[in-house]
C-alpha cells in the first residue's frame, strides 16, 4: 500500500495521463484516448459529449470500476495531507480491496436516476456511505443537507414515493453526506425538465463549493454546464474504418473561463 501512496505539494484531485481504453463488441472496436485529464481540488469539471463518445467509459475509469487498457499516470489525491494513491499500480496489482476502500472513502456518486436503494428510506440512504466508512452521521448534518436540498419533509419516506427531481436531490445528499473529496455525477439531470435541471445543478454546485468537494459532471447538455464548470472536456471522434472508431478527450477551449 505504501508503494502506491506518495506525497506531493499541491496534488491535483485526479490526474490522468496517457489513458487508452479499448472496448470491442462483436466485430466493432471502440478506442478511447485521454492524453491528459486533471481535476484540481474543489474544481467543477464538466465532461461533455454526445452519447457513444466514451464519456461514460471515462467516468467508469475515474470511478475505479473499469480498468484502463493502458495508462501512463493515474493518481487520485488521498486525504487532506496531500497523499496520492497510484491507481495505475493498484489496477496492475489487481488490489480490489484497496480500490474499493478508496472508492468508499474518497468518492460520492450521483447516478442518472439517483441510484437510491429502494428498500431503504431516504434517511437510511443518506446515512449509508458514512456507515460503510464506519462513521455515524449526526442527525443535524442529515437534516441540514436535506434542508439545503429542499428535502426537509422527505427524510423518512421511501425513494419510490419521491418525484424524480427529489430522488436526484436525495442522491446528491447521499453523495455528499460522508464528506468525500470527489463527487462523480453521471447525467444527474437527464430525467428532469430544464427548469428543474438548472435548480438541481445550482444546488449541487453550491453544496460542492460549501463542502469544498471537487465535482466531475458528465452531461450532453452544454447549456446547462457552461456557466458553472471551472474546466470542461469534450470528445473528438475519428472513424478509422467501418468497425474501428477512436474518440479523443481534450480540454474544450472557449467553453469555460
Amino acid at each position: 500500500m505504501a508503494s502506491v501512496v506518495s506525497e506531493t505539494a499541491f496534488a491535483p484531485m485526479v490526474c490522468l495521463e496517457g489513458l487508452v481504453k479499448t472496448r470491442s463488441q462483436s466485430e466493432s472496436v471502440f478506442e478511447l484516448e485521454v492524453p491528459g485529464f486533471t481535476v484540481q481540488p474543489g474544481q467543477m469539471v464538466a465532461v461533455i459529449g454526445e452519447s457513444g463518445c466514451g464519456k461514460s467509459t471515462l467516468l467508469d475509469i475515474i470511478a475505479l470500476v473499469m480498468t484502463p487498457s493502458a495508462v501512463a499516470r493515474f493518481e487520485i489525491a488521498n486525504g487532506a495531507a496531500g497523499m496520492v494513491s497510484d491507481v495505475a499500480a493498484l489496477w496492475a496489482n489487481d488490489d480490489e480491496d484497496a480500490l474499493t476502500a478508496l472508492r468508499r472513502d474518497a468518492f460520492g456518486y450521483v447516478l442518472q436516476t439517483g441510484g437510491l436503494l429502494p428498500f431503504l428510506s431516504v434517511r437510511q440512504n443518506i446515512c449509508l456511505p458514512a456507515r460503510i466508512k464506519g462513521r455515524r452521521l449526526s442527525q443535524a448534518r442529515v437534516e441540514g443537507l436535506a434542508k439545503s436540498l429542499g428535502l426537509a419533509g422527505c427524510l423518512d419516506r421511501m425513494p419510490v414515493s419521491l418525484s424524480i427531481g427529489q430522488r436526484q436531490r436525495a442522491a446528491i445528499a447521499r453523495a455528499l453526506a460522508h464528506q468525500p473529496r470527489l463527487l462523480l455525477a453521471d447525467e444527474p439531470t437527464a430525467a428532469v425538465d430544464k427548469a428543474r435541471a438548472r435548480s438541481i445543478m445550482d444546488d449541487m454546485q453550491r453544496l460542492a463549493r460549501e463542502e469544498s468537494v471537487a465535482v466531475v459532471v458528465v452531461t450532453h447538455d452544454v447549456e446547462l454546464i457552461v456557466d458553472r464548470a471551472d474546466a470542461a472536456y469534450t470528445f473528438e471522434t475519428v472513424q478509422l474504418s467501418e468497425q474501428h472508431s477512436r474518440s479523443i478527450c481534450r480540454p474544450a477551449e472557449g467553453l469555460c473561463p
Partner: protein
C-alpha cells in the same frame, strides 16, 4: 486505509430488503414452513407413537426381566462378571425352587400359608416400580396375592416358619418379620414373599441342614471333610492271608497291596522300622474318607498295628518355600511301635482336631525357628492362605502337621475351601447359586442380553419378541420419515435456491450500487446468505407454530386412546436445536449459488441505466 468494516452492515441491509419486498418474503417463508411443519408433525408422530408403545412396555419391569428357564449352578464369579455386562439393570442370585417354600402365619392369624420366598436387593425394579420398597434385614415385601391370602397390610408382622427334616426327624425354626410394603397385582399373580438375599440364603442353608448362627438357627456348620489318597497299615507281624483279604471287604477300599518299609518311608515322609509289615490300602477312583478309615479300624480292633492315611502330591508353599509337610496324628502307643515321638494333637480319630490344633505344626529341630506363626499358601480350586502355629519341635527332617490338615487341603483341590481367621476353621466356600433374577436397564438392552446369555449356553426366557417388534416398527418408520424428509428437503432447497437467485437477478442494480458505495465482492457475497438464513429462521418459527398447533389437535383427537402423560405427537427437546441447525445450514448452502452470482455484479453496469 480505513478501519471500516462494511460486512457488519450486510445483515441489516439484507433484512431491509426482505422487509421492503415483504410479500415475496412472506411467500418464501410460507413455502418453507409448508415443508417444515409437516416434517415436524411426521417426526413427532413417529417419535410419539414409538415412545408410547415403548413406554407401555418400559413401564412394566416384567418386559425387562430375563429368567433362566432351567436350574443350574451359577458361581459367584459368574455373577461378578455378569454385573459388568452392558445393559444390566439389576441382578440377584436365587436359590433352588424347592428350598424357597416357607410357611407364613400373620401375627394373630391362625392359618398358615405356603409362599414362595424370593430374594431381592437394593434397586430391584420389580419392587420399586410396583409400589414397593426394598426390604432390609427383618423386613419382607409381599405380593398382592400373598397379602390377600394371609390378610396382612403394610406394617403388620408375620411369622415365617422354615421346616426341614434332619436324620429323619422334622425340625423347624421361626422368624418374625415386618411387612414393609405390598406390591401391586401387576408384579405377578403368585403368592410370594420378597426378602433380602442374606435371609433367603440362610433359609436355603437351614433346609439343607446347616445352622445360621447369626439367627440362632441350629444345624451343621459347613466344615470341610478331610479326604486321603490311601492308608498304610503297619503291623508287627504279617496277617494271615484270609484276614488280609477280608480286611478291606465292605470298607470302601478296593485293593490291599503288600509294601516295604521303603515304600512306607516314601509315602509318609519319614523312615519306619524295617521289621514292620507294610500294607497299602487303596480305593482306586475315589477319595478315602474318614468313614472308610473307621471301618478298617473296627476290623483291626484288638490287634496291634497302626493305620496311617496319606496324601500325595499336595502343592503348597510353607514359609515361602515349596515343602511338603509330613502329615501325622499318632498317640503314645502308635509312636512306640513306629519308634518316634507322638503328636500333641493325638491320634487320628473320626473328627478334626479341636481348639485350633488343626493348624499346629512341629518344626524340625535341625532348623530351629523363632517364629510362632508360619504362613502357608496351598494351591487348590483357589489359592488358600492360612497360618500354621508352631506347637513344638520334631526330630524328623520336615515339619509335622496333623494328617487331618493334609486331608482338608486335599479336599480343597476338589471343592472351594476358605480359611476363616476369626474362627480358625476351614469352611466350605459357597458353591454357587441355583438361578438368578435379572432385569435389563432398558427394554432395548433385553434382546442383546437375551442373545448373549443364550450364546453362553444359558437357556433364558424374555419378552424379546414384543421388544423386537417395536424396534422393527421404529426402524421402518424412521426409514419412511427420512424418505419423506428427503423429498421435502429437495423441494425446499430448490425453492430457496431459485428464489434467492431470482432476488439477486432482480436486484442487480441495487447490489451494483452497494458495490459502488464501497462494498467489496466478498461483502455482497453475504447478502443472499444473510437473506437465506433469515428466511429459514422465519420459516422455522412459522413451521414450529404450525407443528405445535397440529400436534395439539392430533393429541386431543386421540386423547381417549392415551393414558395421561402420553402423546401420539411429541418431540424431545434435544431434537429441536438439531432440526433448526440442519435447516439453517441447508439454507446457507442453498444461498451459495445466489451469493456466487452476486459477486459477479460489476458496479460499472449500474452507473448508467441500460
Amino acid at each position: 486505509m480505513s478501519c471500516a468494516n462494511p460486512l457488519k452492515h450486510i445483515p441489516a441491509l439484507a433484512a431491509s430488503h426482505l422487509k421492503h419486498e415483504w410479500i415475496l418474503t412472506f411467500c418464501l417463508v410460507i413455502a418453507l414452513a409448508a415443508v417444515i411443519a409437516p416434517l415436524l408433525v411426521l417426526l413427532g408422530l413417529k417419535y410419539g407413537t414409538i415412545q408410547t408403545l415403548r413406554e407401555r412396555l418400559v413401564e412394566d419391569p416384567i418386559f425387562r426381566e430375563i429368567r433362566p428357564s432351567q436350574t443350574r449352578e451359577f458361581s459367584p464369579q459368574w455373577f461378578d462378571e455378569l454385573q459388568s455386562w452392558p445393559g444390566i439393570g439389576f441382578v440377584t442370585p436365587t436359590i433352588l425352587p424347592l428350598s424357597s417354600v416357607i410357611s407364613v402365619v400373620a401375627s394373630g392369624g391362625r392359618n398358615s400359608e405356603l409362599f414362595d420366598l424370593i430374594p431381592t436387593a437394593a434397586g430391584d425394579p420389580l419392587l420399586l416400580e410396583n409400589g414397593g420398597v426394598v426390604p432390609t434385614d427383618g423386613e419382607v415385601v409381599l405380593s398382592a396375592e400373598a397379602a390377600r391370602r394371609s390378610a396382612v397390610a403394610p406394617g403388620d408382622e408375620i411369622t415365617v416358619k422354615v421346616t426341614r427334616s434332619r436324620g429323619g426327624r422334622p425340625e423347624h425354626v421361626e422368624e418374625r418379620l415386618r411387612v414393609v410394603s405390598i406390591l401391586s397385582p401387576r408384579a405377578g399373580s403368585l403368592a410370594r414373599v420378597y426378602a433380602p438375599l442374606a435371609f433367603v440364603l440362610d433359609v436355603e442353608g437351614y433346609k439343607e441342614g446347616y445352622a445360621a448362627p447369626s439367627r440362632g438357627w441350629p444345624g451343621d456348620t459347613p466344615q470341610p471333610y478331610p479326604s486321603f489318597d490311601g492308608a498304610l497299615l503297619l503291623m508287627p507281624k504279617p496277617m494271615l492271608p484270609i484276614a488280609r483279604s477280608g480286611l478291606i471287604i465292605n470298607t470302601g477300599f478296593g485293593r490291599i497291596v503288600d509294601g516295604s518299609a521303603k515304600d512306607a518311608a516314601e509315602l509318609l515322609g519319614f523312615p519306619v522300622p524295617e521289621e514292620l509289615t507294610v500294607y497299602n490300602l487303596l480305593a482306586p477312583g475315589a477319595p478315602v474318607t474318614i468313614t472308610n478309615l473307621r471301618a478298617i479300624e473296627q476290623k483291626l480292633r484288638g490287634q496291634t498295628g497302626v493305620l496311617l492315611p496319606y496324601v500325595r502330591g499336595l502343592d503348597m508353599a510353607v514359609d515361602g518355600s515349596r515343602t511338603a509337610p509330613i502329615g501325622l496324628s499318632i498317640d503314645e502307643r502308635q509312636a512306640e511301635l513306629l519308634g518316634i515321638h507322638s503328636t500333641p494333637w493325638g491320634r487320628f480319630g473320626g473328627t478334626l482336631p479341636e481348639n485350633g490344633q488343626l493348624v499346629h505344626v512341629l518344626w524340625p529341630a535341625a532348623t530351629p525357628t523363632t517364629a510362632t506363626e508360619i504362613a502357608v499358601r496351598a494351591v487348590g480350586v483357589a489359592e488358600l492362605d492360612f497360618p500354621l502355629r508352631v506347637a513344638g519341635s520334631t526330630s524328623l527332617s520336615r515339619p509335622v502337621v496333623p494328617v487331618e490338615l493334609l486331608g482338608v487341603l486335599r479336599t480343597a483341590t476338589q471343592r472351594p475351601i476358605v480359611f476363616n481367621p476369626a474362627t480358625d476353621h476351614f469352611e466350605m466356600a459357597r458353591g454357587g447359586y441355583r438361578g438368578f433374577r435379572l432385569y435389563a436397564r432398558s427394554i432395548d438392552d433385553v434382546p442383546a442380553l437375551y442373545h448373549r446369555l443364550k450364546s453362553e449356553g444359558i437357556e433364558v426366557i424374555a419378552e424379546v419378541e414384543a421388544i423386537e417388534r417395536i424396534q422393527v416398527l421404529d426402524r421402518g418408520l424412521s426409514r419412511l420419515f427420512w424418505l419423506i424428509a428427503l423429498l421435502g428437503l429437495f423441494g425446499s432447497t430448490a425453492v430457496l435456491v431459485s428464489s434467492l437467485y431470482a432476488a439477486v437477478e432482480r436486484r442487480r442494480r441495487d447490489l451494483g450500487v452497494l458495490r459502488l458505495l464501497g462494498f467489496a465482492r466478498r461483502h455482497v457475497f453475504f447478502f443472499p446468505i444473510a437473506q437465506g438464513i433469515m428466511i429459514a429462521a422465519l420459516g422455522l418459527m412459522l413451521g414450529f407454530g404450525g407443528y405445535a398447533a397440529l400436534a395439539q389437535v392430533i393429541n386431543h383427537a386421540f386423547a381417549s386412546e392415551l393414558a395421561p402423560g402420553e402423546a401420539f405427537c411429541t418431540l424431545p427437546a434435544q431434537y429441536l436445536p438439531i432440526f433448526c441447525l440442519a435447516t439453517l445450514v441447508l439454507a446457507t448452502l442453498a444461498s451459495l449459488v445466489a451469493a456466487w452470482r452476486a459477486t459477479g455484479i460489476d458496479p460499472a453496469e449500474v452507473i448508467r441505466e441500460q
